[in-house]
Amino acid sequence: MKYKINFFLLACLTTLHLQADDLRASLLSNMKEFDTIATQTKQNEHYQPYIISVFHGKELEKLGVSNLKEALTLVPGVDMATDNFNNQTPIFRGSNPFAYGQSKLLIDGVVVNNLFFDAYSEYLSMPIEMIKRIEVIRGPGSKVDGINAYAGSINVVTYAEDVDDFLSNDKLVFKYGSYDYRMGGFVKNFKTQTLKTHIDFYYQKDNKNISSGPDGVSQGSLGSANVGLSQSGDAPLWLDEYSLGLNMQYKEFSLKARILQHKQGSAYGINLALPQKSDRIKLPSYYAELGYAKKIDDFHVDIKVGVKYDAFDSKAKLAPDDVNLSGVVFPNGGYGEHYAKQRVLYQSSYLKYDGFINHHITLGYRVTQEKTIAIKSKLSNLATGNAALVDYTNTLPFFDKDARRTVYTFSLQDTYDVNEKLSVLYGVNYEQTSYKNAGLEPRVSFVYRKDFKNIFKAIYSCSHRNPSWQEMFTKNNHARVGSTNLEPEKVTSYELAYIRNFTSDSYLQSNLFYLVNKNQIYNSAADPVYRNVGKTDIYGIELEYKGHIFPDDELYANYAYIDGRYTVDGVSTSNSLPNVAHHLAKGYYIYNLSSAVSLGTTLKYVGSKERMPTDLRPKLKAYTTLDTALNYKNTHYNYSVNVSVKNIFDADVRYPSPQGTYVQDYAQERRTFLIAFKKSFR
């Protein structure tokens, strides 16, 4: 009997112990799960070993922000630039404004920079309603899994991610605005026990034309004999595009795919001659990436294989009537069709190992094969001056039809939690290409959490940007000539950051940065060949505050000071940074008038910009824009209406043009309005 009681007691104790163990295991598992989600969704951003700002789509919608480009203009230290194609690109911390690939755009983790320019202008019009979150990492510290970010990286997370929402994100959106802008789109998620599917679609168009000029012909872009043919008028900056995105997740397998058919006006002209209203450039982009991710004990395997197609497809009037090119007169002007289609194949494998106490080791490679798969060059008859197009694809191609490059990237990285307050991340990337190699690039960063309110970071990092396709392979062109002898642009960065968390949702982030940029690639109207011509030393400070004036409003403000010197190789003197605003200040305030109505205001200041030393034009003027938006949300019928007015005071916003092109710079839109209607499905 005694034994029976003892056995019973033992059994009870064992059961209790097991229950306790189960509970503890379950608690630990939950905590780990939330750690993973927080890291994945950048909600513990201040503890990560890089400088990051996160913007949420729903918050931006309240402000009347229409698309990705408008959202990026809110990022600390980020300015916008454009070129004669209206190839718009965000400029991080005063980096080379005429080199597009200095930042990378990822959509749900897939790099979408096109191969031709290494830019992503075609994605900047992505409607904000398709975007759940924008994570912007400034500096090269964002290098992950073989993707080199030089000046910064932008990760757009769509509503395919559904890890932390209480409600469904399915929706229908319609928008109407200035320049007869119309947009329609939807987001739909399907979910079963094992299969998750996300689809987003949008179509949008406008008829934007902005008064511009005199065009680059006035500066001799088509030779001094044609200066008198220069024109001023409306630059066709219209847009017509649709996009279909598909994300699927089945157990360990994933598929991310997107089709983007982007068509836009020919802007300021390939040869800097103002084009016709109907002239167009197509920048289609298609990608599909298959992934396999599996966790086995302390190992985590992440394998990806993908294909991406993009093209540059232009059809435009390239020169005005009566233009004289090499002694041949074109009475009806010169026309051209340029087409280059590229394909990128890539495969990456990364192994993460958490088996060593306090260490998280990642080892892997990425192989990328880039290739031009089709080109077409048609021009008006260069011998007779007849406007009818002649096929010069074989005799005078605008691009190297055999352009190809293979890139191998190897990386090793370890995050070591020295104690509960200090983490160190260190690692190297090694890259080899079929042209000039970037070589070995180290990185070290320290994150010290004094307590939950005070966080310090120190980051040292090296990175590079490989020359873009146009910088290497363009030929037979007045404005751009490529070179395969270009070295990659290189950057070494030193960053210090301090983050003060006031509450769980208010903070002040301040950081100092010093960037040493070498082998900067430039060309000019006078010398269209791309060359590594100089170095820039850039330094500055960024301050970012997010919080409240009252418990229930939202206030965001940032300020960046950027300065530095630019030195041409082989010349001892240096000059101040050209085309860079030294002061940038942005912010927004959302005030909830009631549970249904909110009022948002956005203020942006972009300081004046100096020119290149040889450019005698006065500084490009500073500008301030003020936007306001009224948002109404009906929770009963689940719809919202947003009415916004941008640039209320009609400020003259201009992006800098290079010397010898559009002397009055590139004018942007003035005061505009937008109405957005969104119906949500719960």
Partner: protein, 182 residues
């Protein structure tokens, strides 16, 4: 004019909800009920043989409180550990010593309301969980934040409360915080 402005501001504040982070709400909803049953004296806090997990909210946060309730009911089917349970929603204005509760989960509110909830939890000898870690300084008991990893914070002042006795392994997982340092 200033008075009118102040009135509008105070009045408007009462009309709409505070800002919440969905992930933090979910973490709270998943983790806090488990911590509650790691109290060796939980049996003393059962009401009609079941746990009553009471969410205390301001009227403007009713939707948030309801989301949290539904989420808890999805995560924990019928039981938290071996105990049957229910989730109740109570407005700060209705919270009193007679409110049935085995533990309180306190959403954001005015300092006065937070102090009231902390005081009632203390008098009832039950655990009070806080969404906002800053409210530990007003006497709430437990909170969590997601830093580099998920960190549980316990108000040091109540470590030796005679009504609450956490299992040892939980104490090894949490960080103690002095309410004056919050």
């Amino acid at each position: 004019m200033m008075r009118i402005l102040l009135f509008i501001i105070l009045f408007v504040q009462a009309l709409f909800g505070y800002n919440y982070n969905d992930l933090l709400l979910k973490a709270d909803a998943t983790i806090f009920p488990k911590i509650m049953v790691m109290d060796k004296k939980i049996k003393n806090k059962l009401i009609d043989n079941k746990i009553i997990y009471t969410i205390v909210y301001s009227p403007c946060d009713y939707e948030t409180a309801l989301h949290v309730k539904k989420y808890i009911e999805t995560i924990f089917k019928d039981h938290i550990d071996k105990y049957p349970y229910e989730v109740d929603l109570v407005e700060f204005s209705h919270l009193c010593l007679n409110t049935k509760a085995s533990a309180l989960y306190v959403l954001k509110s005015s300092t006065q309301n937070i102090k009231k909830a902390a005081n009632i939890a203390l008098q009832k000898g039950i655990i009070s969980f806080s969404y906002d870690i800053n409210n530990l300084k007003y006497g709430l008991f437990f909170s969590l934040i997601i830093e580099n990893s998920t960190i549980l914070y316990l108000n040091k002042e109540y470590l030796h409360s005679k009504n609450i006795d956490f299992v040892d392994y939980l104490l090894s997982m949490i960080r103690f915080i002095d309410k004056n340092s919050v």
